[in-house]
């Protein structure tokens, strides 16, 4: 089959690789219909993960059709159209049973036993280094999906592929950011980063009754999308003093909840800084009202120096983090998509055949041509 493989720093290529096969009784094989780039791919693309090997298949978020079913799979049949959650999760461990699938104990292949001191979560993901317990990704003709009854979700007929694709990760990540931040009716919420996850966080905050949702970015197209589709107020940090603006718009209190969704990425040459907005985290900590919540999203935050810890203690802030989404909200989000309450297809600003994967990644990495997400069709 064809697959988009990482080759070297800033180099990906579509290659012929062996088809995946059922490896466990709870696996299914999915024929991919759509897959999308995501912010978590960027540090990988740049070659910042030492565990990534040339030939590893990228693609954390995808949707497709079940074509092969393991003997212990109960919920899926061949021919089902499914969206696959970006966290591999067993469904049976303590974390999964609390709905915290991104913390699953049993979904990374044998890594935790090798290194008990490892500081990461044990949960496996698609399109993540095999050497880090990850699984081959969705930018391919076919993908193996472990624990399919937990990880794959049937897509309602009313929801087309381009919309349902975002139920894999961006929509649940945004929803859970608002939930982790405990957004309440009447809250003022500020979101740094107007990528797909930032926009969907804004949407989730509005749905939870926030009185005001502000999105901070420097890309006008993204800010306009957040405003038009999701009801957020745009703040262009190149043109305005974000801290002063946020104070003014929140009656001098500061936002109740601040979400940092800037995509911690490669450009942080020394780790942990966003290419787009290096001071986003500090800005959020300073802006947040006393006793408010700061939620930090995204992969590869790594180390962050000169963190204003004093502000966290002085102002009694709660700091929370999340990387991969939990899966419990996926059916609810698909449902809202089916009722047109949630529209996400516009986030696929660039639709390309899989062969054009390298071009798609270049657009996505550089935010070129208004790219929010590059979506591939095999």
């Amino acid at each position: 089959m064809r697959a988009l493989c990482w080759v070297a720093a800033d180099e990906v290529a579509v290659r012929e690789v062996p088809d995946p096969e059922l490896r466990n009784e709870r696996d299914v094989i999915v024929r991919v219909r759509r897959s999308t780039t995501c912010g978590g791919d960027l540090p990988l693309l740049a070659g910042r993960d030492p565990l990534l090997r040339a030939g590893d298949v990228l693609g954390a978020e995808f949707l497709g059709e079940v074509i092969e079913v393991g003997p212990a799979v109960r919920r899926h049949r061949t021919g089902d159209r499914v969206v696959v959650g970006a966290s591999v999760a067993c469904g049976g461990c303590w974390y999964c049973r609390q709905g915290l699938h991104s913390c699953c104990d049993n979904s990374s292949a044998d890594l935790a036993s090798a290194d008990p001191d490892r500081k990461g979560s044990d949960a496996g993901g698609f399109g993540r280094p095999r050497a880090a317990g990850g699984f081959a990704g969705g930018h391919a003709d076919y993908v193996r999906v472990p624990y399919a009854d937990v990880v794959a979700f049937p897509v309602p007929e009313a929801v087309d592929d381009d919309r349902a694709l975002f139920a894999a990760d961006a929509a649940p990540a945004g929803w859970s950011a608002a939930e982790v931040g405990a957004v309440r009716p009447g809250d003022v919420v500020a979101v740094w980063g107007a990528g797909a996850v930032g926009q969907l966080t804004a949407w989730a905050a509005v749905r939870r009754g926030a009185a005001q949702v502000l999105v901070v970015d420097r890309y006008e197209e993204r800010l306009r999308m957040a405003e038009w589709y999701f009801g957020a107020e745009p703040l262009d940090y190149r043109r305005t003093d974000v801290a002063a603006e946020l104070r003014e718009r929140s009656g001098g209190r500061g936002p109740d909840v601040c979400v940092v969704a800037v995509g911690w990425s490669a450009a942080g040459r020394f780790g942990g800084r966003s290419a787009d907005h290096p001071d986003a985290l500090r800005e959020a900590v300073y802006a947040c009202r006393k006793s408010g919540v700061v939620v930090v999203l995204g992969g590869s935050a790594g180390f962050v120096d000169a963190f204003p810890l004093g502000t966290v203690t002085d102002r009694r802030l709660t700091l929370r983090g999340a990387r991969r989404p939990d899966l419990r909200d996926v059916p609810m989000l698909l449902d809202r998509m089916a009722r047109d309450e949630l529209r996400t297809e516009q986030l696929a600003t660039h639709r390309l055949p899989l062969e054009d994967g390298p071009h798609g990644y270049a657009l996505f990495r550089d935010r070129a041509d208004g790219c929010v997400r590059a979506v591939f069709t095999p």
């Binding site: 690789v17 062996p18 995946p20 096969e21 490896r23 466990n24 009784e25 709870r26 030939g55 212990a72 067993c90 469904g91 049976g92 461990c93 303590w94 049973r97 104990d105 049993n106 979904s107 990374s108 292949a109 044998d110 935790a112 036993s113 090798a114 008990p116 496996g124 095999r130 317990g133 699984f135 081959a136 193996r144 472990p146 624990y147």
Partner: protein, 146 residues
């Protein structure tokens, strides 16, 4: 090291060496017997399995693949606090007789590894119903597909 730093300039080299030795001892004894201290017992490796003890050890018997380590490890079981299932612990037995093929793994640089792997597989079997296998590597595949 706090006390040493404060005393700094006044300390002779002999005193320094002595203090350093004293400071090192607890650190060493806290580690497993793997790092050269033959007297120290190996550290317990523990997993919490989110099921009651009777499901983790049906009929009180060690589950596979722990059973395969019989004679080489000791096992401890207790209910986890807060309704979180069962704490299952194992450690290499001093003077135990490892089954053939496992002996090398139970000494080596990290004798805990084979124990941790067995515990983790027990946990996966009980919680997930199977032991998750990694994707095949490109190399395995090339061999298999000839």
């Amino acid at each position: 090291m706090g006390r040493l730093a404060r005393a700094g300039p006044a300390l002779g080299s002999a005193a320094l060496t002595g203090a350093a030795r004293l400071l090192r001892v607890p650190g060493r004894r806290g580690r497993t017997g793997a790092d050269g201290d033959p007297g120290a017992p190996a550290r317990w490796q523990v997993v919490t399995v989110d099921r009651p003890p009777e499901q983790v050890l049906p009929d009180g018997r060690w589950p596979e693949p722990l059973r395969r380590l019989g004679g080489a490890v000791e096992v401890r079981v207790r209910p986890a606090p807060g309704d979180r299932g069962t704490e299952l612990a194992a450690r290499p037995l001093a003077g135990g007789t490892p089954p053939a093929g496992l002996a090398a793994h139970l000494v080596g640089d990290d004798p805990g590894l084979v124990v941790r792997r067995a515990l983790r597989q027990v946990k996966q079997r009980v919680e997930a119903g199977e032991v998750l296998r990694a994707d095949r590597s490109a190399l395995d595949r090339r061999k298999a597909h000839g």
